[in-house]
Symmetry: none
Subunit: 227 residues, 4 copies
């Protein structure tokens, strides 16, 4: 498999006004198929069948199977980022933004588990070759966290002793793994914890840590009653 797209590729991505609906159909089908079988075990013809198009049609909209995964990632991440941006704008403080981010992130997993599965599990799967492509949108996503941390530190809400670049990674990893476990438990008939409750717990740990100490409340109040 060619990992890197050739510069001389003949088939440029198409963006006809109405026929992009078909491109979207293919992307939706890819989400389903990749979530079910994994990227490497999914065949292009599986995606085609799921999308109700011919195998060759895939190649009118995507350069390759790899490109399908990349565009899937770009497309879905853009929507998620946009949505998060809008929602986060309303939160009055960095703490509230961060808490909301956690809640929204896990809510997304509940609302669109199939998409979440592909984004969390299968995107890692593509290993080496995805890393270059992933960077753009994935970095933008992570920057949402970083911006919150930086703002919180600047405004004195957050301690300054932590590197925002580290925290964004750690928080993303925590949410990702918690989501993954929930998704897999969902498929395997296991139900370890409710994701909304998990969001609250994760926030609490982020906010106050797990050490029991005098003079500091162990848990923050729920978001609705926040002053």
């Amino acid at each position: 498999m060619s990992v890197h797209s050739e510069p001389g590729d003949r088939r440029p991505p198409i963006s006809t006004p109405a026929q992009t609906a078909k491109q979207e159909r293919i992307l939706d089908a890819a989400v389903q198929v990749f979530a079910e079988k994994g990227f490497y075990n999914a065949r292009v013809s599986d995606v085609a069948r799921e999308a109700g198009v011919a195998d060759g049609t895939i190649y009118l909209y995507f350069r390759s199977k790899d490109d399908l995964l990349i565009q899937l990632f770009e497309s879905r991440m853009s929507a998620i980022i946009e949505r998060l941006r809008v929602r986060l704008a309303d939160a009055p403080s960095a703490a509230m933004k961060l808490r909301l981010f956690i809640e929204l992130q896990l809510a997304l997993v509940v609302e669109e588990p199939t998409l979440a599965e592909v984004l969390t599990v299968e995107l890692r799967q593509s290993g080496k070759f995805m890393r270059e492509y992933k960077a753009a949108k994935f970095g933008e996503y992570l920057d949402l966290i970083e911006e919150i941390i930086i703002a919180g530190q600047r405004d004195g809400e957050f301690v300054s002793g932590v590197d925002p670049r580290l925290v964004k990674r750690a928080l993303f990893g925590a949410l990702d793994e918690v989501s993954l476990y929930w998704l897999q438990g969902r498929a395997g008939g296991r139900e370890p914890y409710a994701l909304p409750a998990a969001a609250e717990q994760i926030w609490n740990v982020c906010a106050r840590g797990i050490l029991r100490t005098a003079g500091a409340p162990a848990v923050l109040e729920p978001s609705k009653e926040e002053p």
Copy 2:
């Protein structure tokens, strides 16, 4: 394979005393190759060449390419778990154990980055089919965290408001992602943070959270000066 092959044909794993060195050679080679190319993009003959054996020799020790990955995981995880257990036994408190766990975990990444790469990145890659096999050793690994949390809650060191099953996942995910980013940055010429320093920051967040509040020190002292 043709219609005629009996299911019982499978070559059982060998465990000759001295020749198991060859099995180990193959596993080491697999770590290198899978880390470099990813499981799905690695060919069995790549592993054979790296191990300095013929292709067919692989199949004297492993049932299939999949089995090679599974045994790799089992073998390496067992060693890591054992090592962690021994080191953690010395720590005097749950807090110290947890801090040590984080440090040791990230130290492992620095010491054996190739192994870490396979364990964090490529094992997720095998997607659906690895999940069953992964369970055993991976669960054992996660239980190391869970046990620390439970003990800490029982002894009053940790707050009781968090589900240990959730925390173990979240912490693992955080460490995993932080490791992954460090590993990838290493390959890509990027150097975002030193892993030992990252361990300290992660511990601080786990311990005290990121909220700046009066009456509680924002950062815990480094481990050497810990009472």
Copy 3:
């Protein structure tokens, strides 16, 4: 094949009106190749080259190499059985039918020696696994003989002291071996007997036996002058 493949993945046989010509091309090629090299020594790519298609194309029409052999057998035997049925319908008596069967059978070997070679030699070759598949069409073929014997016994033309199930086997075996020898002699530059003449002799032995006895003509007259 890897662990992940669903059992239902199998490509079903296609039966597009015009493209079935390609299936026929492949079967013809398989007859040639199997006759020349034998089933086990023939490679799928040999058949593909002979048919003028790519290797993968074989698998658009046949599930496996084994399936190719099975379908070859079914297809060619069906045609032969049909042809025999039509020709045998005209024969006025059981004796004439049996004689005609022998003649037609050996004539087929002369007309289509390559096909005959595969049918007599190579089909036996697939050993254990063909036995189940062979049963259907092969049994139907043998029943042509059995029906003639039974009718002849019922009508008093044939002696009743022989088991039709035995005779059909014995006659088939005799014809098969005689054909095989002729086919091999053909390839090896030997010419032991003309097959049409052999048909007459076999019929004579079947009809009257080889014992010379008074009161019964040792040989029956040729079929054209039969009253």
Copy 4:
């Protein structure tokens, strides 16, 4: 696979006085294994395991897997031919000899079904490459029949209108196929006819044919009461 033995082959067949017992053990094992799985589906290591020797030991006694089959054939056929010769010498007439041949042949199948299976089924299987090797011993075997026929014709016992070269083939084929069916039925839980009774019927057909005619007994008396 190399079909033809190279003239430069290094390993000449061995015939140490006592250790030939091991060669015999291997041949016996080969009979069992080839009968069970077929020549092409049997592995050399299967034969080695059955014989209780190491894989490599096979190659101390046989040049190749093919050679093992050839020597198996030569060895077993020699024994059978010798045995038949001795028994046939006692028969007083050509007719009695032929009848005895049929009886002995089918008796052998009952006595040593495994050997019979290999000889009738699996030897055909080796297709092209066996043909050259087969000739010698197989021809000698067939000549037993031919000699009987020729003698019978010369002495006026048998009609002269049939080619002995043809009859030997036809009779062999009939016996072979009848044996094969019996052997397969034996494995498949079917029991179509007893082989001793089949011998009598086949002899009757050979002797007198199946046509019912006045002035000639339809069935010959059993062998004990033969004048």
